[in-house]
Symmetry: C2
Subunit: 140 residues, 2 copies
Amino acid sequence: MLGIGKLSAATGVKVPTIRYYEQIGLLQAPARSVGNQRVYDGRALDRLRFIRHARELGFPLEAIRELLSLSDQPGMPCAAADIIAKRQLVSVQGRIARLRLLQDELERMVSQCAHGTVSDCKVIEVLGDHGLCLHGDHGA
Amino acid sequence: MLGIGKLSAATGVKVPTIRYYEQIGLLQAPARSVGNQRVYDGRALDRLRFIRHARELGFPLEAIRELLSLSDQPGMPCAAADIIAKRQLVSVQGRIARLRLLQDELERMVSQCAHGTVSDCKVIEVLGDHGLCLHGDHGA
DNA sequence: CTTGAACCTCTAGTTGCTAGAGATCCTACA
DNA sequence: TGTAGGATCTCTAGCAACTAGAGGTTCAAG
């Protein structure tokens, strides 16, 4: 009973994003008004809220697709959902760990900057010479 | 004096990525051999190492572009480099903070999972009902 | 009945690469 | 000297997850 604009306002998901979710099959195509405009019901609202919350938690769309299809089958064991959530937890923990290393090195870089000229700037120097930095290999 | 393959091996940057950096103007187009293959000198090596290290620290390519042009002007004050590095530090700190919130909620979700059926799965339930979660708004 | 906001579809752009096709080059070995 | 193979070349298209814009229609308020 709500148009795409109201749905957007009610969920915090932008209008083009809602259309995008429909396009990739994450959200069912809704009914249309006489003038061909999308008309959503309460179920669509729930589903989009679900998607939005999962996105906030960093789940990739493919994982959300699985979670949604799980939530449509209430009788199934929830082990699959558990696995997906754990996978996401591990990924988040890994990202935190890597970012902490970056944080350390950036802090070191910034704190060593003597605010002189580029020629003796530690920021530039550290970037130019990997040997000056504390660790070996870490992704961004 | 080195081909693109050697340069790649020496820096850890993949061959197509090197060509990509050249294409977007981050890396100067090198000399070519008689047979039209790229030939790099030591300066290119330094520059690519610089880029790689900055990428590892999560600097976006546009920031790296600025940092590179700064490092080409050794007499300039290094305040600009300092600002860029601080900006990056703030961004990393923000990402860590957000990820920690996610981590908390994911842990809560996973630990509450009773390993029963989907219908009483906390993972699915929390995702479906934003009110069950601890916080308001946070990006992914 | 008109105006203007909201909606429609479609394409293309974002970031930082990665993968493939199909052609050419370079080097080492017989 | 010939040739087999790996390395290189260009070009296009794809990934995630949207975002922005063009150009056109519909709807609701005054």
